[in-house]
Amino acid sequence: MMISQPVARPDGGVKVTGRARYAADYFAPDLLYAVLVTAPVPAGRVTSIMVDDALAEKGVVRVLTHEDMPKFGRFASPRAEPDTQMQQAEGPPAAQSFMPMQGDEIRHEGQPLAIVLGETLEAAEAGARHVALRFEFAEPELPAPPEWTAIDKAAVVPRESGFLFLEPTFTKGDVDRGLSDAAAMVEAVYLQPSRHHNAMEPSATLAEWNDGELTLHDATQHVYGVRQVLAARLNVPAGKVRVISRHTGGGFGGKGWIWPHQVLAAAAARIMQRPVRLALSRANAYSCLGYQPRMAQKIVLAADRSGKLTAVQQDVVNLTTVSDDFVEFATEASKGLYATPAMRLSQRVERANVAMPTALRAPVEGPGTWALESAIDELAHRLGIDPLDLRLINHADTDPATGQPWSSKKLREAYEEGARLFGWRERPRKPQRDGDWLIGYGMATCSMGCFRHPTPAAEVRLHRDGRVLIRTGTQDIGTGTLTIFPQIAADVLGLPMEKIELEMGDTELPEAGPTYGSSSTMGVGAAVLAAAEDARSQLARLANLLPDEVEMHDGHIRRRGAAGGQTIADVMSHTDIGEIIGSGSFDPAQHGNGLAMRTFGAIFMEVGVDPGLGLLRLRRAVGSYSAGRIVNPRTARSQMTGGIIWGWGMAAMEQSRHEPVLGRFLSKNLSGVAIPVNADIPGDIIIHFVDEVDEHASPIGGKGIGELGATGVAAAVANAVFDATGKRIRELPITPEKLL
C-alpha cells in the first residue's frame, strides 16, 4: 500500500542538482531577449516613445510599441451565457481584460509600454534604459486612505466583468432581530494591505513560432489556460499552440491566470520571426502580475448569553482596477464556519488606477478568517468564554449558508487533538514573561472551500516489462503531485515507485486543468486513479479475470485473495500489444451532489512580544486539520508548514504599500518588501491530520490542503498578541509601530 506512506519526492534528484528546468532555463536558436519598458505614472497617455537612442545600443534589434502590435482578440469568458452581462466579460483564465500596448492609454503604473529586443540580455536592458517616454498625465483614481470611513465611501457594488464568481450579497434569517436579541456584540473593522506572491521564480516565457505554430515554455499553473487565452488573443487555433511547463518555481496563485506578458512575448516572437524570451524582472513582477488586494472588512457578531451566535454581518471591500472588478470573497468564511440563524453579507469594490489583483494563497477564506476569527476571539473575551469553547458552541453541524450536510467534517477532532498537542487547556491564564518577551497564546479555526475543476483527465500506460508512464497535463509547482500521482498508480498496479514515471506540464498531454484552488489531489489524483484502474481492468481481461475481482501485487495480477498470480509480462505476452493504455477522468458533477464540501482545521500559536522594541516573534505552532485522506504525510506536512509560515508573513511582515500620491507600489523588490526568512521561523511547528476519508469529494478520499494551512493564521497571531499585551491589533501586518 503506497497511499498514506511518507514517500520521498521522486523529483528530489533533479531539484537538488540543478537539472530541473524552469521556463527561463530554455534556449532556442537565434533567441532574442526581451525587456519591458513600463509606465512610471498610473494614468494618462503616452504621447511619444523615442527609440533612437535605444536602437543605437549595440545588440538592440528592435523596440516594439503599441504601433507595432497586432490587435489582440477578445477572450470570451468560458462562463459566458447568452443574453447576460457575462457576454461582455472576459475573465479567467485571462487574468485581466485590459491588454497593454493596444493604444496610448495608461491605466496603471508598471504597465508595459514597449518591448526592447536584443541579441543579449545586457543589450536589451541597456536599450530599455534609453527608451524615452513623453506623457500626458491624468489625475489617477487613488486607493482611499486605509480607514473604514474612507474606504466605505469609495466602495461600489461590483459589476460582472468575469470575476464575480458569486452573488455580491447574501442574507439568511432575520439579522435585525438577531442583533436586538443579543446579550453580547462585537463590531469591528479589520484591515489588510495589498500583498504580492513574491514567488522565487519571476514569471518567464520563451515563445517560438514555426510554420504558424507557437511553442511556449512558460512559468504557469495552467498550461491549457495559457493555450486558450493565447489562441484567442493572437487569433490562432488552439491546436496551433503548445505550452510546456515542466517545473514552475512557485505559483501561489500568481501564475494561475494568464497575464499580458505571456501574450506580448508570443506577439513579439511572431513579429520578429525569431524566438523571444521574456523573463520578468523582480520589479515587473509587482506590476505585470497580480496580488491580493488591500481589503477592509467590517464585522458584527451578536451572541446570546451562552455564546450562541444570533447574527453575523460582514461587509467586505477590496481594491480593484479601473478596468475589471476583481472580487475577493472573504464573506465565504462567514457562510461556511459557524452556525447562526441569521447573516447579512456584502462584497463591494473600490476602483483605482492600480495593477490587477488576483487570487493569492489563501484567497477567499484567507482574508475571511483574518476578520472572522479575530472577531470570534473578541466575542469570546467579551463573553468570558474560552475562545476554543466559543467555537465549539457554534460548531456548524451543517453548512451555515445552505443547510446542506457536509461531505465529511472532523473539525471537533481537529480542535481536540490540536489543543492537546499544544497544551491549550493547560496554558497559563496569567500574563507570562520570558526575559524581555511577553508571551501570548492564540488560536483560530482554519477552513477552505473545495474547488473541484471539471474535468481533469489522465492516461496510465502499462508496459509489458512492468514500467508505467502516467501522462497528465497538469503542472508541478512543488505541491507534491509529482510524488502522489505515482503513489496512486503504484497502489492500483501493485508496483514499486521506481517503476513509475510521470509526465506533466505539456498541452500534448491529456487536459488536466489548473494547479490552483487546492484542487489537484481531488481532481487530477482521481483521474490518475481511474486511468490506473482502467489499465488494470484491461490487463484483467487479457488474463481472463473479471476486472472487478482482481488485485495486483508485486508485478502480478490475480483474483483478489488468491495466491501467486500471473506476471504482467506473461499476461501481455499472449497479445501483440506492447503496452496497455488506461484512460481516466474525474467529473465532479458525478460526486457528492447535494453535499457541502470544505476542509477544516485549527491553528494554535505561541508568540513573544517585546513591548520595548515592538518586536513580534513566533515561538511555536500546532496545526491540526480535517482534510480527508492524506495521500503522503511527508509532502503534506511541507504543504501545511509552508502554509503556516505563509500565514505568519501575512500576519507579521508582508505588505505592498500604495504610496498616497500616485498609488504606486512603494517597494518593488525583496529588500523593501519583507517576507519570512529562515531566522523568522522556529523549528517547533507540529502538524497533525485527523484520520479521515471523504468519499464524496473525490474517489481519492482526500480534499485540498495547499491553501488550508494559510487560513486562520493571521487571526491566531493577532489573538495571541492580544493575550500577550492586551492590545487588539486590527490592521495587518502587525509591525513594531502597532505594538509600541
Binding site: 528530489g12 537538488v16 542538482t17 543579449t120 545586457e122 514567488a199 523582480r282 511541507s638 509560515i645 525583496l670
Partner: protein, 161 residues
Amino acid sequence: MNFHDRHLLRLRVNGEDHSLSDLDPRVTLLDLLRERLHLTGTKKGCNFGECGACTVHLDGRRVNACMILAVSCEGREVTTIEGLADGDALHPVQQAFIDHDGFQCGFCTPGQVMSAAALIEEGHTGSDAEIREWMSGNLCRCSAYPQIVEAVRAAAGRASQ
C-alpha cells in the same frame, strides 16, 4: 573601461577551463553561467542580491552570482550546483535535502544547497539558531525553512538538539 570594449576571460567552472573572448563587461557571473555556459541550475530570483537563488562558490566562498561581474573572475574557480555532486554520488547536503523534504517547487534549492554546503565548511552549523541565521540569505517562498534546518543539521553530522 567602456561598455563597448570586449574582454577576454579565462576561468574554471566545475573543474573545466573556459576561455571567453569578446565578453561584454556588463555581464554578471550569473548571466555568464546561465546564458553563455548554459549552466541554468543557478537561478535568477531577483538580480539584486536579495534572494540568494544564484548562490555559487567563487574560490570556495559563497557569493551571489548576480552581484559579481564576470570580468572580475579572471583566473578564478567557480563551483555551481551542477558541479557539487561527485559524479552520480550526491553531495551530503543534496542527499539531506531529499531526505528531509527541504524543498517544494525547487527553484531556490540550488542556492540553498550551495549556501548550506559552504556554511558547513565554514563551521556555522553549531546550533539550529546558528543555521537559521546563516541560511537567512536564501529565501524560500514555499517556506521549507524547518525542513531546510533539519537537512543542514543532518548534513553537518550533528544529532538533533
